[in-house]
Amino acid sequence: MNNEKQELYDAMIAYKVPGIQAAVDKARKAGMSPEEIIENLGLGMTEVGVLFERGKLFLPHVLSAAAGMKSAMDVLGPEMLKNGTASAVKASVVMGTVEGDVHDIGKSICSTMLQCAGFDVHDLGRDVPKGDFIKEIKGGCKMCGMSALMTTTMTVQKDVIEMLKAEGIRDQVKVMVGGAPVTQAYCDKIGADVYGESASETTRKAKELKI
């Protein structure tokens, strides 16, 4: 069984969908439970995240590994439902670059990393009106990620937090902020819950929130 565990881990790091599918098939034939398979794929996915952070793997590679994970879940999910062992889906996250700001790339990488980590990501894109964040949160999103790349737009993050307070729903959502001019001190000052220096750090902190 140890061989199969290692092969699942290695297949994730090699990030090729057919390779991941083959490793999953082999593990199932060897009698490994869906939970064990997912656990070992998850260890591989964590390492993929580390290699991404270190600049050894890139976004398409991370996505390819995530696509492999998704195809494994397509097979393992129904089995887990049948066995009654399906775990709850991770929280829904609304993501967007704030109103007045058209910088997209950092926020998109962050959305992708969160999606790869199993979150249900609602990416609203860039130049997102403040009210759209509120609408998504009222619609059930438990986390809200706002990116701002300019000193003139970072204040919108604070505006949205104030709107959440005015609506009486601030306690229902964890607010994450990031972007070039944003810092931990600013995050603390405006009353956000999480500051992410990078996409990887944001994802790690989001997972730690355990919503």
Binding site: F58, L59, P60, I109
Partner: protein, 354 residues
């Protein structure tokens, strides 16, 4: 215990002991060595960095005779822009701004820039830009370039014709995302050739490509191919390739320039590609981490930049501003940190210009 006045990467004032500063200097250098596969700074260099950081004076400088060339990017926008794009909100014309930089601010080179500071929006106003270039060249003595960001993000939807790789990848359309990035890179190179050759024909002494690779590795390849085309068309023009970050983001992941995958390259590797493309000067960038101290950031930046200078056959002008080169990431970068970072870049990393 003596404590020294210094900064965090977000500009916050802090007091640190000698031991704490040394520990951060060593850790910052080690992080660069680990990430870039480059040597750590020597203990003599760490000592020198400590001397610079712990200097009692608010403003420090290089010794007479060690001054380096100062080039400026962003054209007149540092006067006319608002705080969101590094400006001061002072409304002056492009001619007046060029002359002020030359005659009042001591700029060794300067450049003409479009308000949007990107290649693509220059195309429809190219005739105006050519005319302005010619007019200012009649007044200015210092080498006067044209500057713009390749900014390949403008070629993706919703701003341009190509599918946005970030959106496509989230739908697991990875090959399509790569294909769109490759097509956008070809388009960018074509536009660079169109814009840059016309401005050189109008009298520009050179072209400054600012924030190369801001949209990732395909942006880097598109820019380098554009540089190559400009060099071929204008063998004597002066080309400055400045980067946008310390590592080329792998949005495509596999795209190559001259047989070299560009994703993940660090300054000492980026500069070799800029040379191959035909650049005269390379603008190295190292990012500042806002959660770490000035000591950590500066040691890391110097370690990266020093190796870049050593490996380069062309002059290296370090990007030194808000959030790069060890300088804190805050709207008005503190002068104590700015001057310390510049001194260290000149005296330890041995950059040719700033």
């Amino acid at each position: 215990m003596t404590e020294y006045y210094t900064r965090m990467g977000d500009g916050k004032r802090v007091l640190m002991s000698k031991d704490a500063i040394f520990a951060d200097l060593v850790a910052g250098s080690a992080d660069a060595a680990d990430m870039g596969g480059i040597p750590d700074l020597t203990s003599a260099e760490i000592e020198k960095l400590f001397e610079i950081i712990s200097d009692k004076n608010r403003v420090v400088g290089v010794e007479p005779g060690n001054e380096v060339v100062l080039t400026y990017d962003i054209g007149q926008l540092d006067f006319t822009g608002d705080n969101g794009n590094s400006g001061n909100g002072v409304d002056v014309g492009r001619l007046e701004s060029a002359l002020l930089h030359e005659r009042a601010l001591g700029a060794d080179t300067f450049e003409l820039a479009h308000a949007d500071y990107s290649i693509k929006p220059v195309k429809p106003v190219i005739s105006n830009e050519m005319q302005t270039m010619e007019e200012i060249q009649n007044e200015i003595v210092a080498p006067y370039f044209y500057g713009a960001m390749p900014n390949m993000g403008l070629y993706y939807k919703p701003d341009g014709p190509y599918g946005n790789p970030a959106d496509l990848m989230r739908e697991y359309k990875i090959e399509e995302a790569m294909d769109q990035a490759e097509k956008a890179a070809v388009h960018l190179a074509r536009d660079i050739e169109y814009v840059s050759t016309r401005l050189v024909a109008a009298g520009a002494d050179g072209f400054n490509f600012d924030t190369t690779a801001s949209a990732g590795d395909a942006d880097c390849v598109g820019t380098l191919n554009g540089v190559k085309a400009l060099r071929k068309a204008c063998p004597d023009t002066y080309i400055n390739v400045g980067m946008s970050g310390e590592s080329v983001m792998g949005i495509h992941g596999m795209i190559e320039f001259e047989g070299q995958v560009v994703a993940g390259l660090y300054p000492h590797q980026q500069v070799k590609l800029a040379e191959k493309a035909g650049a005269n000067v390379f603008g190295a960038v190292v990012n500042t981490n806002t959660s770490k101290s000035l000591a950590w950031n500066l040691a890391r930046s110097v370690a990266f930049t020093k190796v870049c200078v050593e490996k380069s056959s062309i002059p290296v002008h370090a990007n030194m501003g808000m959030g790069v080169g060890g300088i804190p990431m805050c709207e008005t970068a503190p002068i104590d940190a700015v001057t310390r970072c510049n001194k260290a870049m000149v005296e330890i990393a041995k950059v040719d210009g700033i």
